[in-house]
Amino acid sequence: MTFKDMQFRTTLYGLEKLIRQKAKRYPSYARHLAEKNIVAQIKLKDNSSGRYYIFENGKVTSRKGVHPCPDICMAFEDTDIAARIMKPNRNQLDFINAGKNMQITLQGPDDLVMWFFETLNQLFTLGMEYGTDMGNGVKRYTSNTNGGPVFVYVKDGKIIRITPIEFDEKDATPWSIKARGINFTPPRKTTVTPYALAWKSMVYSPDRLLYPMKRVDFDPNGNRNPQNRGISGYERISWDEALDIVASEIKRVKREYGPGAIMNGSGSHHTWGNLGYWLSSRLRFFNSIGFTPVESNPDSWEGWYWGAVHHWGHTMRLGGAETYSTVEDLLKNCEMVVFWSSDPEATSGVYGAHEGTIRRQWLKELGIKMVHIDPYYNHTAAWLGGKWLAPKPGTDSAMALAIAYVWITENLYDHNYVATRTVGFEKWRDYILGKEDGIPKTPEWQEKETGVPAKDVRALAREWGQRKTYLAAGGIIGFGGACRTATGTQWARAMVCLMAMQGLGKPGVNMGCLQQGTPVNTKFYFPGYAEGGLSGDLEGTAMAANLYQRMPQLPTINTVYQRVPRLKIPEAILEGRCTGYPKNPKTIEGQFFKYAYPAPGYPKVRMYYKYGGSHFGTMVDTNRYTRAYRSEELEFVVNQSIWFEGEARFADIILPACTSFERWDIGEFANCGGYINHSYTQCNHRVVVLQHKCIEPLGESKSDYQIFLELAKRLGLAIPYSEGMTELDWCKRMFDASDLPKYISWKQFLKKGYFVVPNPPEELRDPVAYRWYAEDRPKDTPEISPLPADYTEEYGRGLQTQSGKIEFECSSLKRFDPDDPERPVICKYIPAWEGPHTTELYKKYPLQLISPHPRYSFHTMGDGKDSFINEIEDHRVLIDGHYYWVIRINPEDAAARGIKNKDLVKVFNDRGEVICAAQVTGRVRPGTVHAYESSALYEPVGEPGNSADRGGCINLLTPSRMIIEKSHGMAANSCLVEITKWEGGEVA
């Protein structure tokens, strides 16, 4: 017998002792053992050595040798492989390699195999301590949300309190910036958004789904009654029944049509955490069964991706800008900030809580001049002050052209920069001066479009042309409601062109408003959620860049080439065909590849597995989605949701998911990775959080990971899906894959729950964004995009465009479609396809509705659910026992319609009707009305899809026309409506 043989035998012998020992010590483990009575065999494939374990009524015994008919069997090729796998803290790559190369085989039913894996894995995690004892039976855990990391106080298994994290004396010291004689340092704590503070009310919401449900008139073996989706009620069923129905429907649909007939999509956001996010477990599962993915449109970036990309590249940021170290540059050098369609106090940098707010207080302190351009007197303008200019929605690009006109005619731009760092300026200049179309784009010309006095635009242009100015285009660069208008591509393009005229990257001349670009440590690696977590997906996530090398995992590949554009789900279902353009961050030309549904040789979608937040309040012209649900074309609909709201009420089977407070996860404050590379530079401190399982899942709800695992067990996929691991095991793997172990042990991290990443010394801070570009040096900012092949000259020299420069005249558009009237090769003003120029429609619906991202809720989170957020009167207004969505209307327009503050009104057009509460306010100009998008509730007063909604889904009203034809983008902010007082009675 070799030493390795002996080692194998000893390990197998010791295993039984270890299991007994742990069961004695840990009652939870003893309970686990009592779950199954099985015989589990571990052996070498050639049967030369082995031992089997008999689990019976919670007791374990074992015998040497090979059992004739074990329930499960784990067989190793040889003792060498066995030695590498059968040890604590094994290298997971060894396990994956052994599995892929058939050096380890597993036999037996999936649920028993998984149970045995859990039995083995728990041996090394039992007894790990986590959380901080606060006395009086209170334990303080840590978690992370879309609105900032939090402490979670738990007593008797119940959350009693959720607070921001205040650092202790051991946590890293903050950075400081000395500017204009003042030392600026952020406080040693994290901030949170309103919806983060409302989490307790959402966890314990009366709308929580606590057990699986089936629509009462849905019979998978008989009448399915699809026409009653959204109408008939639900009955409670067991998990087994629910999972069996879903698994058998997956098999049936694949058998009858192929995997392409299964469609799955997600809301744009999920509860926080790298493992539970929609780009992680969900993809791992669906890639494993094969599916037609719903391709998301770049819903917050639209104009930037379909427009600005062609001027400066940045496809990996979907057209957004570099942001490095702009906080320091702005504080030191900038003289004016122009906020254009930018309301960071409402949108919080998506995930940045109020981190930027703290810094914007410094703007006031330094007396830096501010201008706000937005049809709505937004929260940032209201708080910071400065000049407010309110263009009519969708006309911003006319104002931008007029600004360029003043700069050109009054010689207020950077000639040298334009000559050396850009191409194609002459063509644009000639267009602006009117040489192309006979119309000089003067401030007076723009006044007719925007409604903003020419004198104000002239004054702004002069001020801007003479001061070092930061342009905050969107709350973070690459966002902004203006980019979701029919003219959104033109606006985003104009923003790039304006900055190119002023010397983008020179000291004090850059993009931003202190929301991004703090001097935190960008060299410390911890993955963002868009790096795909445990998805194994190298195509649909950013995993290939870093995480895959650091956390090897079984790759997953969807074999279905068909996809459905998210904005056209209804057409795909109801009409059976549609087309789309891809969101491809790899390269500029990626967006030109038009695709069709159904794809050649693929079936139409028959089963829809919906997961996460509802589209009714977040996509466009959403009565369409309701109608699609009620179509016979959809044979089966399953919805995996935390709350009973929105689209969940249109499913045949509902699977109840738990919140992130009820499961394990790991994630960093505002680190999304992917399209917003280094997005944590909007935080004052990098904070990585071990998201403790603070409480047990409510009712029978389960984590998304666990739900998919249960389905995987029924499809023979449990081990490839899970790699035999629990969520906590995956957390540990992600910890090991990051730079955390260089600073903190797993034991300490698990216990304390968070880590503040130390900042680099001042001399090692990141260089300022675009400074390298302005000075014609190799790129020195710490991002690895564009991809090497997209550099024209040498690697690292220039931008992603063909010329390597900012292109006023876009070479990519010249190649693709130089005559596209909607997207000309230079940025032009083309009036919106829905707005004051659409005369007939404008007569009928004379109010321009904008519906930007909400302030107090996030996507559909925070809203509805009987959440505390509903108590905020600027969010919803309580009238006659119902919380109504708010629409803001100018006093002049209100008076003309006999509408008073807090009156119930009907907002309508040909697409639908929404009942809202009026807020009469001077915050909107006459002719413009404002209501946020993203209502979580959809409450039709009559037939779903054909009646007024008093839930507040403003997107019932918004147009489904693509922002430009050759795109997959929404233009929700080009929307004409009429408003009348709602007298009641109309709605029962």
Partner: protein, 279 residues
């Protein structure tokens, strides 16, 4: 020297995020703090209530917020009326005794600020406790203060002399002083709530175009006296703030290139944007 707790709220720093109200709900809804208060009902109560204040008219408007909560007054009418059901602690915090106050709906009306709420289900009056249960555990701050991102809310543990100094240095005021209750909550920049502004824009014709008249000298006269003077900014805009509502006639005089170019009379009722004045 005896110190007590004061809450200071700065209207200029408040962004209206409502984190204070939400933190309050997080702390008190579904949680009972024995000896301090029963749980806050899920709906209806706003122990700290954020009121939106809008002044002026498009496009010269101003949107700020006012936090309203129990002011933990030194001469609290509620304490006086409650016969022991409401008491003031040594540290200034006013507490409603959840047992003794049962059934005392009459106490709601005793607060001139309307900051006592009736809990219908439990039949008790309730209000802000300054998070006394946390203060007594050594927290050092209330939940609303902790959740405030900008420091618009802050808790001070100060002596009489210290608070007097803060009042002077930071120009702190009390809300509706006519109630004479000697509140323990002070407001900074309260003019944004209880005063008005007059604003406008000045424009001139130059080479056939309308231009903003930046740098114009604008005087404000009231009762024949010059009470304020500002220069217009690059957009030709001016604003006089801190004026009492319904304070009668004002005259705005605009000087440009050293000459009196225009004089406008307004009757000030509430904040007023006089619009564009062409010279």
């Amino acid at each position: 020297m005896n110190k007590r707790y004061y809450l200071i709220y700065d209207l200029e720093k408040c962004i209206g995020c409502h984190n204070c109200m939400l933190a309050c709900k997080d702390e008190f809804v579904d949680n009972e703090w024995p000896g301090y208060t029963l749980p806050q009902p899920r709906h209806g109560h706003k122990w700290i209530n954020i009121q939106r204040i809008e002044r002026g008219q498009y496009p010269h408007i101003d949107v700020k917020y006012l936090a309203r909560l129990c002011l933990h007054c030194n001469n609290a009418p509620c304490v006086e009326a409650a016969g022991g059901a409401i008491y003031k602690r040594q540290d200034g915090i006013v507490i409603i005794d959840p047992q003794k106050a049962k059934g005392r709906e009459d106490l709601i009306k005793t607060c001139p600020y309307g900051m006592i709420w009736w809990n219908q289900e439990r039949e008790i009056p309730q209000k802000c406790t300054f998070c006394a249960h946390l203060i007594d555990q050594g927290w050092g701050k209330t939940r609303c203060v902790q959740a405030c991102p900008t420091g618009a809310l802050r808790l001070e543990h100060a002596s009489e002399a210290e608070i007097e100094r803060m009042k002077k240095d930071e120009k702190l005021e009390v809300l509706d002083p006519e109630h004479n209750t000697s509140p323990g909550v002070y407001y900074k920049n309260l003019y944004l709530y209880n005063k008005c502004f007059i604003s406008g824009s000045v424009a001139i014709e130059k080479e056939g175009k309308t231009e903003c008249a930046g740098g114009a000298r604008v005087l404000l006269l009231h009762n024949q006296a010059r009470i304020d003077e500002v220069l217009t900014d690059c957009f030709g805009d001016f604003r006089f703030d801190g004026l009492p509502a319904n304070s009668g006639l004002y005259i705005i005089e605009i000087y440009f290139d050293g000459l009196l170019k225009k004089s406008v009379e307004v009757d000030l009722k509430t904040s007023l944007n006089v619009g564009t004045i062409f010279l």
